[in-house]
């Protein structure tokens, strides 16, 4: 077992295998480091910046940085928690997150982080973007205004080796994620559902799949996001 390495996260001794990302190493050891762009099995993007941790006082993203033997990592410190909350609030105002009218409500990771960080209202002014929707393919409904641009779909929804979703433009109002309607039309129902599941928010929906679980039985109705890791 010489590929086992020891790291410290917030003072706690943790064991993991060499090459594991810090976020996964933390998870293995019952520590939750919040993130919105990270998803198991897909190359990390480090784009939401919420999983920022500190290694020797230097900020790094836990999803993209491999654990190295002897590393001392700070995650649950006021400076970072405050920053994470701010990023969550930024995402709430940068999109149209009408939780009461959203099919993903209760299963939404952004909303769940809002709960976990007890966001009562974002400190920033709402922007109410107008980026439109694309419902032109058979199974997918894509609401760009709910998108937090985590790139999970860009990285994870692939059909015949091609990207179904991609970034478009940069900076300012034109920026959005574009759905390839042609390619999306070839998705099977199961693939469309997988695309919906990969989206942390309600930007990608499988048609006719809204409000599936009743209130009270949804993922984050009773327990905060992360408790599945912390209570293990």
């Amino acid at each position: 077992m010489n590929d086992k390495i020891k790291i410290h996260i917030d003072g706690k001794e943790c064991w993991t295998t060499d090459g594991t990302s810090i976020i996964d190493a933390a998870k293995e050891n019952g520590i939750f480091i919040p993130s919105l762009c990270h998803v198991d099995g897909i190359k990390p993007a480090g784009s939401c910046r919420i999983c920022n941790i500190q290694v020797n006082g230097r900020n790094m993203t836990a999803c993209s940085t491999p654990a190295v033997d002897g590393m001392h990592i700070e995650s649950n410190i006021p400076e970072l928690e405050e920053m994470r909350k701010a990023i969550i609030e930024i995402m709430f105002v940068a999109g149209n997150h009408f939780c009461p009218a959203c099919e993903k409500s209760g299963n939404c990771e952004l909303q769940a982080l809002g709960y976990r960080y007890q966001m009562m209202v974002p400190r920033f002014p709402y922007e109410f973007p107008e980026k439109g929707v694309n419902a032109d393919s058979k199974y997918i409904y894509h609401d760009r205004n709910r998108c937090i641009m985590c790139k999970r779909c860009v990285r994870g929804v692939i059909k015949d080796g091609k990207h179904v979703f991609a970034f478009n433009s940069r900076g300012g109002e034109n920026l959005h994620i574009e759905l390839d309607t042609e390619l999306a039309s070839q998705l099977t129902e199961a693939e469309a559902l997988a695309a919906m599941d990969i989206c942390p928010v309600g930007a990608i929906l499988k048609k006719e799949r809204g409000y599936y679980e009743p209130i009270g039985e949804r993922k984050y109705d009773k327990e905060p996001i992360g408790s599945e890791i912390e209570n293990k």
């Binding site: 990390p44 993007a45 480090g46 784009s47 939401c48 910046r49 919420i50 920022n52 900020n59 993203t61 993209s64 940085t65 491999p66 400076e79 920053m83 701010a86 990023i87 930024i90 995402m91 105002v93 940068a94 400190r123 920033f124 002014p125 922007e127 937090i148 641009m149 790139k151 860009v154 059909k159 080796g161 091609k162 990207h163 179904v164 979703f165 991609a166 970034f167 478009n168 433009s169 940069r170 900076g171 300012g172 034109n174 920026l175 574009e178 759905l179 390839d180 042609e182 390619l183």
Partner: protein, 600 residues
């Protein structure tokens, strides 16, 4: 059209990592990337259409719609505005009969704004079909547009060519180098081209690295990482192949010194690249040249060819067995963030110029995931003199932590704008005297991502330890509205130029700019100033790359150094002021239902 596009793609062997070049060629051919071309690209490169667009929509100079037979890109950055670019813009609009952001109805003239084009010492300036036109005046604009209407070739409208090698047959540009570098400094020390490379190949690769390491040469692009160490890391990375890249994507508004180095002494740069390639054992090198400097490409290609002819590039360089190295010029597509080394590599691979996560560092896994050294133009040029004169000689110049000289691009409110080479340790006051500036309110050091300082800090020394700069020094006179003309413009710049990957850089920049506007529009409170500052801190903390981390600097450093300017914007003691405007809010609905608004 299909055939043309297919041929272009074939020229690059259907290689999707050459997407930049393919798109550049298509844009040049059709003045846009037509929908049909996107279809062909997707088919031939086996990508989805949105994936092709992912790259093309990232770069400023790739467009979906044709940009006009004569495409004008007018610089809209701070110094351009200071020098009257707004008036020039109006003149263009009046003459061409179309607004900025659009093409005239007959398709003749397209007017577009662009961020800094590297001509700050001769603003207002524009690129017209890629050809720079500097020191624009209203009468010149009239002449130009008349020329467009007469169907003249833009190259024939240049007129008097500029100083130095700008008059070279392959450049023939009106740009002036304004090179105020002193003979005998470091970069301007006369030398015989090839002599440094000769010296290098006669010692071991390790010895070259050792010399550069002990010279304390630090990266001149801004970050200041020791060049020798970078080379050593690359050399020690386990890779069968390694690459050398010269970063000539100087996009920091206010920087133009690389343009002058490329124009006036390209041999020195390419020789420096060859030395670096020798040191890290790279066979391929790239000059990533910003799109705005496309007018230098033919000339630089020619210099490269001459150096190949002289065996300073190519196989068995200077007879050295096993030392084969050549340089390809990779053009950019107009994206400031590509000046960040890993974003530059992404761009070279045909992708969006988004900075990568670190680790791995480019020296471990860079271009095509092979160890790659990316150095700035000035850094590589300097290497030549270090090899010739030795590390001790170099270290003796400058200060303790900043060996050597720095090439500055000085512009703004001064009588002698241009490019200077100064010894590290020069104070800002000394610099201002050198460039003949008085009544100075502020100096923007290192461009928007740097700091805006006032006279109380003019005794600081230009150096890594005190006042680091990639070279941009913008002098701002007493009469300027610092917040409106400088800070606000720079926030717009960062919003436009963000690669948009990191959430805070993508969205918080907009929030900060709106808050700044709230203050400027007279709705601010003292609390707004504090919030502006506190929120800015998240940028530094949270973002991945240098652009994102410094994108709030225009606000933070002006609050640090010019807080009274902000306080003067606050018109009330109230702790809450609403920006809500009743007249505006009811205007549309009342008009639609035919009702006279009565809000008072």
């Amino acid at each position: 059209m299909k055939d043309k596009v297919q041929n272009i793609i074939r020229n690059y062997h259907d290689d999707r990592t050459r997407l930049m070049d393919i798109l550049l060629d298509i844009q040049a051919e059709f003045k846009c990337i037509p929908a049909e071309a996107i279809e062909v690209l997707a088919g031939q490169l086996n990508m989805s259409k949105v994936d092709v667009e992912q790259t093309l929509s990232f770069y400023h100079f790739f467009t979906y719609e044709p940009t006009g037979e004569y495409t004008v890109y007018l610089n809209d950055s701070v110094v351009a505005k200071m020098m009257g670019s707004d008036e020039i813009a109006r003149a263009f609009e009046d003459e061409a009969g179309t607004k900025f952001g659009s093409v005239s109805e007959d398709g003749l003239v397209g007017l577009f704004e662009t961020s800094d084009i590297g001509m700050n010492d001769q603003e207002p300036a524009a690129l017209i079909n890629g050809v720079p036109f500097t020191n624009l005046t209203i009468s010149k604009v009239k002449e130009l547009v008349a020329g467009f209407k007469a169907g003249k070739d833009v190259n024939d409208m240049v007129g008097q060519t500029g100083d130095g090698r700008n008059s070279d047959d392959l450049i023939k540009s009106m740009v002036n180098s304004n090179c105020r570098m002193q003979k005998g400094s470091v970069l301007c020390l006369e030398y015989e081209v090839g002599s440094a490379l000769k010296r290098a190949v006669n010692i071991t690769r390790e010895a070259v690295i050792e010399t550069v390491k002990s010279s304390n040469l630090r990266g001149r692009g801004g970050a200041g990482f020791p060049a020798g160490l970078k080379w050593e890391f690359c050399r020690k990375s386990n890779g069968d192949v390694s690459y050398l890249v010269c970063n000539a994507d100087e996009g920091e508004p206010g920087t133009f010194k690389d343009r002058v180095l490329l124009t006036e002494m390209p041999e020195q740069l390419f020789e420096g690249m060859a030395i670096a390639a020798y040191a890290i054992d790279a066979k391929e090198g790239f000059l990533y040249l910003r799109a705005e400097y496309n007018y230098l490409k033919a000339y630089l290609e020619d210099v490269l060819q001459k150096m190949r002819d002289d065996n300073l590039l190519g196989d068995k360089i200077l007879g050295s067995e096993g030392f084969n190295f050549d340089i390809r010029i990779q053009m950019g597509g107009g994206a400031y963030v590509c000046g960040e080394e890993s974003a530059l590599i992404e761009s070279m691979e045909g992708k969006r110029g988004e900075p990568r996560n670190r680790p791995p560092f480019p020296v471990q896994a860079g271009y095509h995931n092979k160890p790659t050294v990316v150095n700035n133009v000035e850094t590589l040029s300097t290497v030549v003199k270090i090899i010739l004169h030795g590390a001790d000689w170099f270290r003796a110049i400058g200060t303790e932590e900043s060996a050597g000289t720095k090439v500055l691009s000085v512009s703004g409110d001064c009588r002698k704008p241009g490019v200077y080479e100064v010894e590290y340790g020069m104070t800002v006051n000394e610099m201002l005297e050198m460039v003949d500036a008085d009544s100075v309110q502020a100096v923007q050091v290192a461009g928007p991502s740097g700091v805006c300082i006032g006279p109380d800090k003019f005794d600081q020394k230009i150096s890594f330890e005190q006042l680091p700069t990639g070279g941009a020094m913008i002098v701002i006179g007493k009469d300027r509205d610092l917040l409106k003309e400088v800070a606000l413009n720079y926030m717009d710049f960062f919003i436009d130029e963000s690669c948009s990957s990191c959430a805070p850089c993508r969205s918080l920049t907009v929030i900060l700019k709106n808050k700044l506007l709230k203050l400027m529009n007279g709705f601010g409170t003292m609390n707004d100033i504090d919030e502006l500052y506190d929120w800015s801190k998240y940028m530094k903390q949270a973002n991945r790359c240098g652009l994102g981390q410094t994108a709030a600097n225009p606000i933070m450093t002006t609050i640090d150094n010019f807080r009274p300017l902000y306080e003067a914007l606050v018109k009330t003691d109230d702790e809450f002021v609403s920006e809500f405007d009743m007249d505006k809010a009811v205007e549309a609905s009342c008009k639609y239902v035919d009702r006279v608004p009565n809000v008072h």
